[in-house]
Symmetry: C2
Subunit: 339 residues, 2 copies
C-alpha cells in the first residue's frame, strides 16, 4: 500500500505528471476529457497532494501562527475562535502558542514560528515584553505580522485594539454617574499598554468630573486574576479607605474583590459599587451580576486574521503594504454590581 502521487496517476493513465498536475488545478491547456479522466482516477485512488512537496515548491505553508499570553482566558479564547474561524474559511491552519506572560518564552515561540515558516504571525504581547527585537526579526524574514489587544506602539505593523483609555473612562464615568464619590482602581502591571491606558482613562474621568485623583486608591493587581482581586480588596479593607466604588482592570479581579466584600458583610452595590472589564462569561452568572465593559474578542479575532490576510496577499502580489490600525468599539454593560 504505497503512497499515491501524481506519478502514480500519470502511469495509470499513460500520461505525463505535468498533465495530471495541471488537470487537477484546472489549467486551461488541458482538455475537458483528460481533466475528467484525471479527476476520476484521483478520486478513485483517494489522491491527496503531498503538502511537504507543495510547501517546498510554492514556498508557503498555508499556516499562520498565533501567540497569546494564556489560552485559558475567556477573552483570548474568544479571539482564538474568531481567528480560527476566519482562517479556516480561507484555507489556513493556525498554530496556537502561549507565552505564559513571559517575554523569554514569547521570543522562543516567535523563533519557532519563523523556523516553521508560517505565512504570517498574530500576537498579543506578554506583560513583561518591552524589547521587540523578536518581532522585528519576524518582519525581517518578510513574515506579515499583526498585533492585537496587547500591542507595542514601537512596532510598525498592523494592529487591532480597543480604545482602552476611552473604555476605562466610560467605566469610571458609569460609576460617577451612579453617584460614587470615592472610586478606587485595581490596576494591572506597570508595563502593558492597556494596563496603562485603562489607568489613564480612570484618572481622566475623575478629573473631568471634579473628583480629585488619589494615588493611594490605586491598588496593583499584577496578574489581574481572582486572587489579585481578593488581595487588593483585603488590603483596601485593612486600609479602611472610604471608598464607594471600584473600577477593576479585569472581571476576574472584580469577582475576587466581590467575594471578599461578601465575606466581610459589605454589600454590593449598596455599600460599594464594582465595575469590571471584559465581560467574562461568568460575570453575568454570579450574584450580584457584574457590571462591566464589553470587549469584543470574537470580532477582534476575525479582524486580526483579516488584517493579516490583507498583508499576506499584498506580499504575494509583490505590492507594498501600509500597516493599518483598527479600533473596535466597546460599551458599558450595566448589571447589578453598580447602581
Amino acid at each position: 500500500m504505497k503512497e499515491v502521487t501524481l506519478k502514480q496517476i500519470a502511469e495509470n493513465l499513460g500520461i505525463s505528471i505535468t498533465t495530471v498536475s495541471k488537470a487537477l488545478k484546472n489549467y486551461s491547456d488541458v482538455s475537458k476529457k483528460t481533466k475528467a479522466l484525471v479527476k476520476e482516477e484521483a478520486k478513485k485512488l483517494h489522491y491527496k497532494p503531498n503538502v511537504f512537496a507543495v510547501n517546498l515548491r510554492t514556498k508557503e505553508s498555508k499556516t499562520v501562527g498565533l501567540i497569546v499570553p494564556e489560552i485559558v482566558h475567556h477573552f483570548f479564547s474568544s479571539v482564538i475562535n474568531g481567528i480560527v474561524e476566519e482562517a479556516e474559511r480561507k484555507g489556513y491552519l493556525v498554530i496556537i502558542l502561549q507565552s505564559n506572560e513571559s517575554y523569554k518564552l514569547e521570543r522562543k515561540q516567535v523563533d519557532l514560528l519563523i523556523s516553521k515558516r508560517v505565512d504570517g504571525i498574530m500576537i498579543s504581547l506578554a506583560n513583561d515584553t518591552v524589547d521587540t527585537s523578536h518581532l522585528l526579526e519576524a518582519m525581517e524574514h518578510d513574515i506579515p505580522l499583526v498585533m492585537f489587544d496587547k500591542i507595542s506602539k514601537l512596532v510598525k505593523c498592523s494592529k487591532i485594539i480597543i480604545n482602552d483609555r476611552q473604555a476605562a473612562y466610560n467605566a469610571t464615568k458609569h460609576l460617577i454617574d451612579s453617584g460614587c464619590k470615592n472610586i478606587a482602581h485595581f490596576r494591572g502591571a506597570l508595563l502593558p499598554q492597556n494596563s496603562i491606558d485603562r489607568f489613564l482613562g480612570y484618572k481622566k474621568a475623575l478629573e473631568d468630573h471634579g473628583l480629585k485623583y488619589d494615588s493611594s486608591l490605586v491598588y496593583m493587581c499584577e496578574r489581574v486574576d481572582y486572587e489579585d482581586g481578593r488581595r487588593a480588596a483585603e488590603q483596601l479593607i485593612k486600609d479602611a479607605k472610604k471608598v464607594d466604588g471600584i473600577f477593576a482592570i479585569t472581571d476576574m479581579a472584580a469577582v475576587g474583590a466581590m467575594t471578599v466584600f461578601k465575606e466581610h458583610g459589605i454589600k454590593v452595590p449598596e455599600d460599594i459599587s464594582v465595575m469590571g472589564f471584559s465581560n467574562w462569561f461568568l460575570s453575568q452568572a454570579i450574584t450580584p451580576a457584574l457590571s462591566t465593559i464589553n470587549q469584543p474578542g470574537y470580532e477582534m479575532g476575525r479582524g486580526t486574521f483579516k488584517l493579516l490576510r490583507k498583508e499576506m496577499k499584498a506580499k504575494k502580489a509583490g505590492i507594498p503594504f501600509e500597516p493599518q490600525t483598527k479600533v473596535l468599539e466597546t460599551f458599558v454593560v450595566k448589571r447589578e454590581s453598580t447602581k
Copy 2:
C-alpha cells in the same frame, strides 16, 4: 538579501553541499577542521535549515496534532500545557484544534491533521462522537494515535484516562460518609464514556452502602456547564425533592447549582452538600469552597505525549507497537461544600 542555504555555505567555503550537510549533523566522515569551518560559516550567515525541504526528504514534520472539545476549559488547558511542555522538550510542535463538542467538526479536524501530515495525533472525543471511522482512517494512514480522557473503547489505540467509575464512587461515598442519605446526581450527556462511568460509579456507591438508587434524582446536564447546573438545581427545587447531597459531574455544574441554592436561601453544606468533579481552579476560590475530585490534567497531558512518542519511535524503528492503556490516580479534595 537571499535565503541562505546549504548551497550558499558550500560555495562560500568552496566545498560540496554534501559535506556541509554532514558537517552540520556531525557525521563521522567529515574532519574536525571542516566541521568547525562549516559551523562557523553557518552561524555567521544565520543559517536555518529549510523545514519544507527537510519535511519532504525525511517524510516527517516534527509536528503532532491535538484535538480537544474546547480549549477554554480549565481541565483541557491543563492537559494542553502538559502535552505542549513534553512535546517541546522533544522538539515537536503541537497543533491544537477544537471540535466544539461536534462530531462533524472533529472529523474535519482529523482530516486536516492527516492532510498536514502530522507525525501523530492526540484526541479527546466530542460528546456526540460514536462513529470512529475518522480515527481508523488516521490509523490507516499509519499515523500514531492516542486518546485521552474522553475515549472510545472501540478504537484499538493507546489511551490514558482516569478511573471515572471509581472516582465517582469515591465522590459519592464521601457524601455518604459525611451523613448524606438522599443523594442526587447531575449527570452529563448520554453518550460519552466518562459521563456513563461517573453515573455508574454514583449508582454503585449508593447500592454498596444500603441507599437505594432513585432514577428521579438523576438530572441531565447536557453541556455540563454553569448554566446546566443552575437549571438542574432549579428543577430539583421545583420538584421539591428531599435531597441532602449532590454529586455533580463537573465543578462548573456544581457551582451553578450552589449559586441557585444561595439565591433560595438553601445553605451549603448545612442543608445540602455539594460535590464537584475536576478540581477547577476557581472551585477553591468560591464560598463555600467546593469539595471535588482532583483530576490530574497536567499529568495526563504529559502522559499522553509520552505514549504518543513511544509509538512514533516504534514506528520509525519499524518495530510493531502494542497499544497500552494508562490509568491515572484521582483523589477526593474535601473543602467546605461537604460536611
